[in-house]
């Protein structure tokens, strides 16, 4: 963990309520895709945890959905503003276990951390494919960015306005063979993916946090191998340890 000041380079709207923020600062403490930052905001007592979408040198990309006071405040910020961030939080995804053809499954704002994961897997010479699930066509973001990495991407929408109609698990039925499952998204989706997945895998969880760095026990969960803190021992849990 590091605490440092980042400067906003850009903050743009991707869909009706999803924004992409690019920042510049000390990114030296990030070790794996799937880690997150915890952002101090004016007038709010607790920091806001947001997962990392992309890292490139000192550039950090965050994608967030406006759901409350904190993210609403973030959405109004513009270039040049500085933010106090705790960086390098959480364990992140382990790419060692992926095999050659891992499947990445994201839902809504669970999609962003899979982008950096895909980049890392590709850099390691693997061939990941992705299923990205949204509610409707106007909610879809980052499809082109995943394509631009040179990988196969399927989109699902609940109302069928784009891609496969239904849930990410409906698109999973068309996947012939994959070596490993990586997932991030709402808990109901994670649970469905957990059940539908035919391989081992890693799932990234969300929880209301106090500190975000393992001190307060605010976000603990039970696993098959004891209690874990989502913020410090997670947010990524192995399929084999999740109690479902």
């Amino acid at each position: 963990m590091k605490k440092s000041i980042f400067t906003i380079e850009n903050n743009e709207r991707l869909t009706q309520d999803v924004y992409k923020m690019s920042l510049r600062g000390d990114t030296s403490d990030f070790k794996a895709p799937g880690q997150f930052v915890n952002i101090e905001l004016e007038g709010l007592y607790l920091r806001r945890p947001i997962s990392v979408c992309d890292l490139d040198g000192s550039n950090l990309t965050l994608i967030y959905k406006v759901v409350g006071k904190g993210t609403e405040q973030l959405s109004r910020m513009s270039r040049g503003k500085t933010l106090d961030l705790l960086t390098g939080l959480g364990n992140g995804y382990d790419t060692q276990k992926s095999g050659n053809t891992p499947l990445l499954i994201g839902g809504g704002v669970g999609v962003p951390p899979l982008y950096l994961l895909a980049k890392k897997l590709l850099a390691e010479g693997k061939t990941p494919t992705a299923i990205l699930g949204f509610n409707t066509e106007s909610d879809v973001f980052y499809e082109n960015e995943f394509h631009a990495l040179g990988m196969e991407v399927s989109i699902t929408t609940v109302d069928g306005s784009r891609g496969t109609k239904g849930f990410v698990t409906d698109a999973m039925k068309n996947c012939e063979v994959y070596s490993y499952t990586y997932s991030c998204g709402p808990e109901l989706m994670l649970k469905a993916v957990y059940r539908a997945s035919v391989t081992e895998g890693q799932f990234s969880f969300e929880e209301r946090m106090g500190c975000g760095f393992g001190a307060c026990m605010g976000c603990s969960c039970e696993t098959k191998y004891g209690y874990k803190r989502i913020c410090k021992d997670g947010p990524v849990l192995e399929k084999g340890e999740i109690v479902w």
């Binding site: 963990m1 007592y45 607790l46 106090g210 001190a215 307060c216 026990m217 603990s220």
Partner: protein, 304 residues
């Protein structure tokens, strides 16, 4: 050169700043960031006899200038704390620590205190009396002078280490409970614990916390803490560790003027992991600003 030293039941602390139990774990996360040996002492995560997972999540809610937690005393239990956590803590923190204990019966407090009495790096035993007494209809030990005194006597009987009772503010008269603990032999008092609070989510129209209610901490409760420390200081002769929303060097001095001999920092650590370090480093400047040469001389200074 200002003097930040204070003494607490015979222990000399280089400064009065102590992270509060439950906001600093066993120090490891903070030791990654700075040398935690600058702290006066450290009150580690509350220990119970048996391992506890605690309450279901969500356990955290937020409010103006504070937060509400319903962690529910998650800890690995007495045996694991003594065998694993305390040796690890001793590697990163070389000074005497404060062992915060909780129990759901008098017997549990006794067992925990007996084990902590044998731990070399434990300087003070801090007894959390805010837990429900399972043999007393689930009422908290800390809300009755009689029950609080009973816990105090039981713990005092099994340890030679100084015993501080951590008082609950969720009472009608904190002074009567403080006096009962003093009379029962307490060496000192820690106050205040969190205040029972609740938030309701407008989207779900239900309480945010799975446990419905939790303990409020943070800047929001600081004036309450100052008032209660002030009232208790008037009534007792034993030292007080003041806490409750302390977030700055100015707050440290204010609560010491109310009567605290040392000060614990809680929720501020979760918002800013450097909070204790920044407060310690800022103390000399603030002391000079207000013409204070020695912190130990200002304890209770607000009283006539």
């Amino acid at each position: 050169m200002v003097d930040t030293k204070i003494t607490l039941s015979g222990l000399t602390l280089s400064n009065p700043v102590i992270p509060a139990s439950g906001t600093f774990g066993y120090g490891a996360e903070f030791a990654e960031l700075f040398d935690i040996n600058i702290l006066g002492s450290l009150s580690f995560k509350g220990t119970t006899l048996e391992p506890r997972f605690g309450n279901p999540t969500p356990r955290i809610a937020e409010c103006e200038s504070g937060m509400i937690n319903s962690v529910g005393l998650q800890n690995p239990g007495l045996k694991a704390v003594c065998e694993h956590e305390l040796p690890k803590l001793a590697e990163v923190f070389k000074k005497p620590v404060i062992a915060n204990l909780s129990g759901f019966s008098i017997e549990e407090y006794i067992e925990c205190a007996m084990a902590m009495d044998k731990q070399q790096n434990v300087g003070i035993i801090e007894v959390n009396v805010s837990c429900p007494n399972v043999h007393g209809g689930g009422m908290s030990f800390g809300v009755s002078p009689k029950a609080a005194a009973e816990v105090t006597r039981a713990v005092k009987a099994v340890t030679t280490k100084p015993v501080y009772i951590k008082l609950s503010p969720n009472v009608t008269d904190i002074v009567s409970i403080a006096l009962a603990c003093e009379e029962a032999g307490a060496d000192g008092l820690s106050l205040i614990n969190t205040l029972l609070a609740m938030r309701i989510d407008l989207k779900t129209k239900k309480p945010i916390l799975a446990n419905k209610m939790g303990g409020l901490s943070g800047g929001a409760i600081f004036p309450l803490a100052v008032r209660m420390v002030y009232q208790v200081y008037e009534a007792v002769k034993i030292p007080i560790i003041g806490m409750g929303g302390v977030s700055s060097a100015e707050d440290v001095i204010e609560i010491m003027l109310a009567g605290a001999s040392a000060v614990q920092i809680g929720a501020a650590n979760l918002k800013n992991p450097y909070a204790c370090k920044e407060i310690i480093e800022d103390l000399p400047r603030v002391m000079e600003k207000y013409g204070i040469n020695s912190l130990s001389e200002i304890i209770g200074g607000a009283h006539a």
